[in-house]
Symmetry: C2
Subunit: 375 residues, 2 copies
């Protein structure tokens, strides 16, 4: 199936690239003459999951413009953030984990008014009133649900029966396979560097994405350590079909985090977060007074019960929503060390896509300009 001799020609201008010819073996004019019905594409050249409206599986699955999911984060992803992400060409997600059922319904209704584009809801399956939430999703006509923190078999069938697309968030090959078996449409593979709750295996994005991609046939969305176009392209090179971005959207104008916490996120350095509470449910936290209490207790061999006592109730709300930077639980990803400003979602998405395209073009151009570098 590989044409024995295959040519393509491109014209670069300062604003666009045009394909001048693709087939044949005598250059552009030759191509036009020789290219009658000879539309075979080399299998070797058609494997890479390219970001493209016609090709990309995530873009196709959700009917969106960019293969970017705005993560549905607790105390962060309300209707304003989800609608802004949707209006910027991404999949917006409302984070139901921190919402009472009536609050979730309100956010869904407001989001519908704020965007005509597709959006979804993230639901942690360990949510106490999970049945109530699921019924609200169905009643409100939600078409996309991301589930996390639980067994994907419990609700996927119920949701699929109602015509809802289901994606499960996993941190391991084992749960990615379970998600595929359960009938999920795609899977999020989330690395150790991600914020919030995290897998016990501690596998990083660099290692997890190739492993999950080899294991499952459904599309794979990479999460953890992705805030820039360069990191997005790296995730795609690793095999991802799309990316889920959390921290970068947490530090947006439209996120519902307290402004104290947003400012804190943009003033972090590398090493300022730590995966904590491993004996309960591991969660990546900023190293503040509360996290240090937890760390000291863990270093001294605290039991799960003792850790639960230190954690108490409402810690995440206190820190993330009410802005108590010392006694609150502050969940954020390692990649926060890269973030230095709070921006509107539209600008964030534009910058990511722009950098993604520039780095991709750099690769194309370099390989074209320096032929001896290729083989």
């Amino acid at each position: 199936m590989v044409p024995p001799d295959f040519v393509y020609c491109e014209r670069f201008t300062s604003t666009k690239v045009e394909i001048l010819g693709r087939y044949g073996n005598r250059g552009i004019e030759g191509n036009r003459e020789n290219n009658k019905g000879n539309a075979k594409i080399s299998p070797l050249l058609s494997v890479f999951p390219v970001y493209s409206k016609t090709m990309n599986k995530i873009v196709q699955l959700f009917g969106i413009q960019h293969p970017i999911i705005q993560a549905g984060m607790i105390w962060t992803s309300g209707w304003r953030l989800a609608a802004a992400a949707a209006n910027s060409g991404c999949l917006g997600l409302i984070g139901a984990g921190s919402m009472h059922p009536d609050v979730l319904r309100e956010h869904i209704q407001k989001c519908k008014k704020a965007t005509q584009k597709p959006f979804g809801v993230n639901i942690p399956l360990l949510y106490p009133e999970i049945g109530t939430l699921m019924n609200i999703l169905a009643e409100e006509g939600i078409k996309i649900v991301f589930t996390s923190a639980g067994n994907p078999k419990t609700w996927t069938g119920w949701l699929k029966e109602r015509g809802i697309k289901v994606v499960h968030v996993t941190a391991s090959v084992k749960f990615a396979l379970k998600s595929e078996e359960a009938g999920c449409d795609a899977v999020v593979a989330e690395g150790f560097e991600a914020g919030g709750h995290n897998g016990r295996e501690e596998t990083t994005t660099m290692v997890l994405i190739p492993l999950v991609k080899r294991a499952v046939n459904i599309p794979v969305i990479a999460a953890g350590g992705i805030a820039t176009g360069r990191q997005m392209l790296a995730a795609m090179v690793l095999g991802a079909d799309g990316v889920q971005i959390g921290s970068r959207f947490a530090a947006s104008e439209e996120s519902s985090l307290h402004s104290n916490f947003k400012r804190k996120i943009t003033n972090l350095n590398e090493g300022d977060t730590q995966l904590s509470l491993k004996k309960l449910v591991p969660v990546r936290l900023i190293k503040n007074k509360f996290q240090k209490q937890v760390q000291e207790a863990e270093d001294q061999g605290a039991t799960p019960d003792e850790l639960q006592t230190i954690l108490g109730r409402g810690r995440a709300k206190k820190g993330m929503f009410e802005g108590d930077l010392e006694d609150g639980e502050l969940e954020i990803g390692q990649v926060s060390a890269i973030l230095k400003d709070i921006k509107p979602v539209k600008k964030i998405v534009e910058e990511i896509i722009s950098e993604y395209e520039i780095v991709k073009k750099e690769i194309v151009s370099k390989t074209a300009f320096f032929p001896y570098s290729r083989f």
Copy 2:
């Protein structure tokens, strides 16, 4: 400086890509006529750190073929591995950390006989007889030294005075900056997923490489989570100038690890390693009987002294060199979960480079075939 209208044409065959024409605006024949002295290159198109003999900083720095460093690992990287890596176009490193001074000298002398290509030595700066080792390096005419586990200021000046190129292994921006200040020629930025001793900040490759690349002007070598061409390209996309590969070379025919341990490496799954002994010096270990003892002690709040007692002496030799898979200390990276076979170094390097080039070509080809995905 950007030519207003710029064309390039490539011919793909199943084995190679030829550049047919680059300049002008009327295709290949037109190029040849129009291209007299018009050799300007767009600045936008010349930023990406491409793997190339003429362009790549790591290839230039060491005079090697591929921007790949074979990590100098304890009980693993003897003269056979270093010579095989050098003969395959990479920078081979002897791992001095597990060698008595006379053993190091013997390995250097044997390596010189086994290859005409450049090779170097990795020295942990906490080595007790460090001065003796350094004198051996100078006496034996070693031209490249990688230092790790210590302050880069201590020995870099001494080595540089003797015309030796120095690279320091770091796991944080802070130490990367110290390395640059100390006069190092390059820096290895090693992520949390890497095997062996590891940084306390636990920053992963996905996040660490962009941070270090922004912070320093010297070339950056990415390490941690890199065993395939796809992972190598992802590291280069993140901003690395080259990569250091450990686990993949540990599971080579030429590494000096015990065959029991090599087989173990190729039978691991994701989640089978754990960063351990954090109260001493953090090290990534396979979860075996010994590691579980350590883990239990840590969970119960063991002090550094108690952990040191469990560790005892000679644990790494016992596991890695003598093949005791239960009571030995088995250091390996997370990426081992991807490795399923023991191969000769030459084949490993060929496969990495081949996959790297294919994935790069996939990007080029996809972007050429689907122009609407580009802008």
